[in-house]
């Protein structure tokens, strides 16, 4: 089993979900994060004082997939999340050494 993690733009989630579901990948966990990367932040002014905001709102999505579905998962996320402008994020995967479904206790 593999663990696929991607950092994406919040507004691309619906497309990513759509792509994943289209490939029958239904297991998915989404976390709100603040991130920095190549994309620059912005500045806020509050009561006359400038504040640099260099952590932007992003989403972290995480999927546990079978070895053979890894490429499907990655390409689905890439298709859904890509806008070709800075801030699209990265995607990585890792090995997992065991997965179980809590409801049943079965190994996946």
């Amino acid at each position: 089993m593999k663990n696929v993690v991607a950092f994406i733009r919040p507004e691309r989630l619906p497309q990513v979900k759509q792509e994943l579901f289209a490939k029958e990948l239904f297991g998915l966990s989404v976390t709100n994060i603040l991130g920095s990367g190549q994309q620059k932040g912005f500045t806020e002014t509050y009561r006359g004082v400038t504040k640099e905001v260099n952590l932007l709102k992003k989403l972290r999505i995480e999927l546990v997939v079978q070895e053979e579905r890894l490429n499907d998962a990655i390409s689905a996320i890439e298709t859904g999340a890509r806008t070709e402008t800075e801030g699209d994020g990265i995607i990585y995967f890792q090995n997992i050494h065991g997965v179980r479904r809590i409801r049943t206790g079965e190994e996946l």
């Binding site: 919040p10 989630l13 500045t43 806020e44 002014t45």
Partner: protein, 456 residues
């Protein structure tokens, strides 16, 4: 403090006191042996002023409703727009609006003097009342502009909005207002001369605002993500229902000033005007709740709140002419209508009105105005409606007024929005809209600390 108290009695006379106090803050007056009574003029000033305060406070209600029914990333922008409506609105009405609306008129069409508060003369009870009347009218003017804010929310440039706000309070509202209410200062607006009745402004304020709002929502286009490629509407959830709910309660509270205060007189009729206002709001709420429940399966809060406002808008024209049961009828009709209208505008017209301003103020304002021609009870105001005398004349006049205001407000609105579009541009860029207007237009977010994410 007995000594002090007897001093108090000694200082009873206002004149003496004023000299004594040398400009100090307050003056104590006590009843002398021979009783002194409150003059009707001063009573009218007190009443009208209290009503004006309440109407001013409605600004808070509008802000909260609009803010609550939109997304958090635009909350600060909405706050700014609503403060601006009041600030700029009052100034514009001071400089231009009042003169156009209440100045000496030309052929019942437009007022021509009274600009820049020029009617203020030397101190007199009459001046005191005139100023109070002016103040009351100025808070009304600000209301009209605010209605537009809701329908163009979340995507309109702040600069563009400023110009629109100026045009609504400075031109669109007072010119048409003169036609129906110029008589308040002894003129004869052409519509009121025909017998058009709109006591506190279902049409003059609310429909007018609603139709400009329609023009605005059409001109500025729907928010990103509101419609699917196949024109199916998607839900863009408001971020804070309790906030919107508080706004509704504040509006309800303020509406008593709006309607009952429109007598600008402390007379006995204010009681039933307020009762009618309250009952119509209640009926609107119940009717809308039931309609939503039946139509969509659950009693949803935001539509129910629109129902309250629908009832209140509807009864505004006839609150002084309706019997309590008439008020309930109007409220119920508006409560049903607002749900139908919101769905129609959203799914058929495909016009994106985030808060339902067009349906609440435009549609229900029109219905309420027409309702006067049907339900006006001879037992209350001076008009008799179709259901009491079988005569459709009044209804015809009401219909004329409704149509005229639609034509004027929608037409002038479209022109204004087009002009503003070509001057400064109406709409923020796609990126700005996604980021939210708070950051892009005002430089800082409305909420901090709270983790706020919109995942679709």
């Amino acid at each position: 403090m007995s000594v002090c108290k007897s001093t108090l009695s000694r200082t009873g006379l206002v004149a003496v006191m004023t000299v004594l106090a040398l400009g100090a803050s307050a003056t104590l007056v006590h009843a002398e042996e021979e009783a002194v009574y409150l003059t009707q003029t001063n009573a009218n000033i007190v009443w009208t002023l209290l009503a004006a305060m309440l109407v001013m406070f409605m600004q808070a209600g509008f802000t909260l409703v609009e803010c609550g029914l939109t997304r958090s990333k635009n909350a600060g922008n909405i706050l700014m727009k609503n403060m601006l409506d009041f600030g700029v609105g009052t100034m514009l009405f001071l400089m231009i609006g009042y003169g156009l609306m209440f100045g000496k008129d030309i052929m019942g069409m437009i007022g021509t003097d009274g600009f820049f508060l020029s009617f203020i003369g030397s101190p007199s009870p009459s001046r005191d009342f005139d100023i109070t009347f002016w103040f009351f009218q100025s808070v009304f003017a600000a209301t009209a502009a605010t209605i537009v804010s809701g329908s163009v929310a979340e995507r309109t440039k702040f600069q563009a909005y400023i110009v629109i706000s100026v045009l609504v309070t400075g031109l669109i509202y007072p010119i048409a207002g003169h036609w129906a209410w110029g008589g308040l200062t002894g003129n004869a607006g052409w519509l009121e001369s025909l017998g058009f009745a709109d006591f506190a402004g279902s049409t003059v304020v609310h429909s007018l605002g609603g139709w400009v709002a329609l023009a605005g929502a059409m001109a500025v286009g729907p928010r990103i993500g509101k419609y699917m490629p196949d024109k199916k509407p998607r839900a863009i959830l408001g971020h804070n229902m309790p906030m919107a709910g508080l706004g509704v309660f504040i509006l309800w509270f303020g509406w008593f000033g709006f309607n009952a205060g429109s007598t600008t007189m402390a007379d006995g009729s204010i009681g039933y005007i307020a009762l009618n206002t309250s009952l119509s709001g209640c009926a609107g709420m119940i009717a809308a709740m039931i309609t939503v429940w039946v139509r969509f399966g659950k009693p949803e809060a935001s539509m129910t709140m629109n129902g309250v406002l629908a009832g209140l808008v509807g009864v505004t024209a006839g609150c002084s002419e309706l019997s309590p049961f008439g008020a309930i009828m109007i409220g119920a009709i508006c409560g049903v209508a607002v749900v139908v209208a919101i769905e129609f505008i959203d799914t058929v017209l495909c016009v994106d009105d985030p808060v339902g301003a067009i349906s609440v103020h435009g549609v229900c304002g029109a219905l309420g105005t027409l309702g006067v021609g049907l339900f006006a009870s001879p037992e209350y105001g001076s008009i008799t409606g179709f259901f009491y005398n079988g005569d459709l004349t009044q209804f015809g006049v009401q219909l004329l007024g409704v149509v005229v205001f639609f034509a004027w407000a929608f037409g002038a609105g479209i022109v204004c929005f087009k002009v503003v579009d070509s001057l400064v541009g109406l709409r923020v860029s796609r990126v700005e809209e996604i980021k939210g207007l708070d950051i892009t237009e005002h430089g800082s977010e409305a909420y901090n600390g709270f983790q706020i994410f919109s995942v679709e």
